[in-house]
Symmetry: C2
Subunit: 317 residues, 2 copies
């Protein structure tokens, strides 16, 4: 059933014990939203447990309360409500769904949300689920403590690329202003999030040596061998480097995986790369997509660069 | 004489012809502020000329009106007022001061401002001079057009590191929200500012190979040879890479210059690096300072790393 902020607040007010969860491969928005709602509900006197069926990446461990997030065990848990945040379908919460026996409330901002819950509030206009949690806490008249402010600022800032992505709205920026007034310190949050292991930076230096250009400089590629990829720990932001080179329309990262597979990430400024990814059995968004190609790094590079070159030829820019 | 926004607005209303200038080595705040005030004064029917005694970096050339900024010629210019933005002393505007014969109005946010003008409005609490121009335009009841919004958003976002620096305040974020409502599109502005020449990225890859650690990982250094430095075109952001490595307290970049000199940039998380820079004849802020050391890259590295190690030993973190 579709819910308003007021009706979600009423459901939460009626519940005495709750489990809050988010998606596997948790990111800043998932964790910040789970933690902020946790702090709000605990302050309202509820019995609350946080469960996520995955490890918490080190970069997010500065958020207050993060050490209280548990993993689901095998024993069944009974409570009044299971609140699922930032997850667009039931599979995204791993085995938490099987372990918790309770009506499911889902709050999310993904366009792809399949409305799997008993009660849902989905707003794809929001830059982050964190924005929706802030609106819910206002509805609940919860005091926005410093802990809540830090968690929600992290949730919002990470999902809109620190206000650099197209999903940023004037209200995103005004929410951030309010959270600062409640105690969030953007420079300290940014410092935590931008810190990386030495290995990641060393690997970035190596990967930048693999830069290649095609289609008259419109396509830039980087390649990550299996050895460098494992050493790097995290190669997630690497694709932003070829993407920001002058004149580049499509950036591609080739990453060697197990079993003779190469994971391919595509980013574009204008052309639709999701349809290219689709022809290789992948998918994604118009300007950010991915696929897996069987073969060597070189094989994958030849095939995907050819497909992107053809797409560029077809598209008047 | 110290001025309020209202009295600056009154001075500008009384002037019929004006020259607007900013500092040499112009950055986003300087250029965005100059351009926004230009658009506002032209809309008010003033005769306005923009002069900057330097080249405009390519990355800022997307701002509306930037092609109208001229360089000072040798002929004297007479007008009713010379408006100096984002410059803290008379030397910072190059020869514009000598060429323009008019009372000087200075609007700035640098703590180091020496109050050199006839009329000044200095607010070191502002994250950017752009924030002060927005307040001035509100006072003047100027319509914030899309052109003005783009220029002021750029001014503010560049000077607060896209809201990641400690100078960001709740009102910085609310100003940004208003500018979005007037037509600034943060993702397009960010895309323009983040674009870099291929040479810069290739050079970054090379420079990352020079990463070295000292003092048990608390100091990270990178080195830029003269050859790589010239090739790179712009090495300004490079110091952020060692700075963000886990456990690093002080990052140092050594850049070979002409005449056996090495330019040294220092960034710290907590300790005062300006006092270290001072011992080498340089200066700066507590967490961002610089100096020039005579000798080879190796000489400079040995001397400065020793001084920073000593400072770390003295400072309980």
């Amino acid at each position: 059933m579709e819910m308003s902020f007021a009706s979600i607040a009423a459901l939460l007010a009626a519940a005495r014990s709750l489990v809050i969860t988010g998606h596997i491969h948790p990111d800043g928005d998932c964790l910040g939203s789970v933690l902020a709602l946790y702090h709000g509900l605990v302050a309202a006197g509820k019995k609350v447990q946080m469960l996520i069926d995955d490890d918490i990446p080190a970069m997010y461990r500065f958020m207050p309360g993060v050490e209280l997030i548990g993993k689901p065990a095998d024993a069944k848990l009974v409570c009044d409500a299971l609140v699922v945040l930032d997850a667009s379908d039931a599979e995204r919460i791993g085995k938490v769904g099987a372990v918790v026996a309770a009506p499911v409330i889902n709050i999310d901002h993904h366009t792809s949300n399949v409305k799997f819950a008993d009660y849902w509030l989905i707003d794809s206009q929001a830059a982050a689920t964190g924005e929706l949690i802030l609106r819910l806490l206002r509805e609940m008249r919860t005091e926005i403590t410093e802990d809540i402010a830090i968690c929600l600022y992290t949730a919002i800032a990470t999902d809109c690329g620190f206000f650099k992505y197209a999903n940023t709205s004037p209200s995103t920026l005004r929410d951030a202003a309010q959270l600062m007034e409640c105690g969030a310190q953007p420079h300290l949050i940014a410092e935590q999030l931008d810190t990386r292991p030495l290995a990641t930076l060393t690997a970035l230096g190596k990967v930048l040596q693999t830069l290649e250009f095609h289609a008259g400089g419109q396509i830039a590629t980087i390649s990550v061998t299996r050895e460098v990829g494992e050493y790097a720990q995290n190669t997630e932001g690497f694709i932003n480097y070829p993407r920001t080179v002058e004149g580049v329309e499509v950036a591609i990262m080739f990453k060697e995986a197990e079993d003779k597979n190469v994971r391919v990430s595509l980013r574009s400024k204008n052309i639709d790369v999701s349809s290219i990814a689709l022809t290789f059995g992948g998918g994604g968004h118009m300007r950010a997509a991915g696929c897996t190609v069987t073969g060597s790094l070189k094989d994958a590079q030849v095939k995907v660069v050819a497909a992107v070159t053809e797409a560029l030829d077809r598209t008047p820019l």
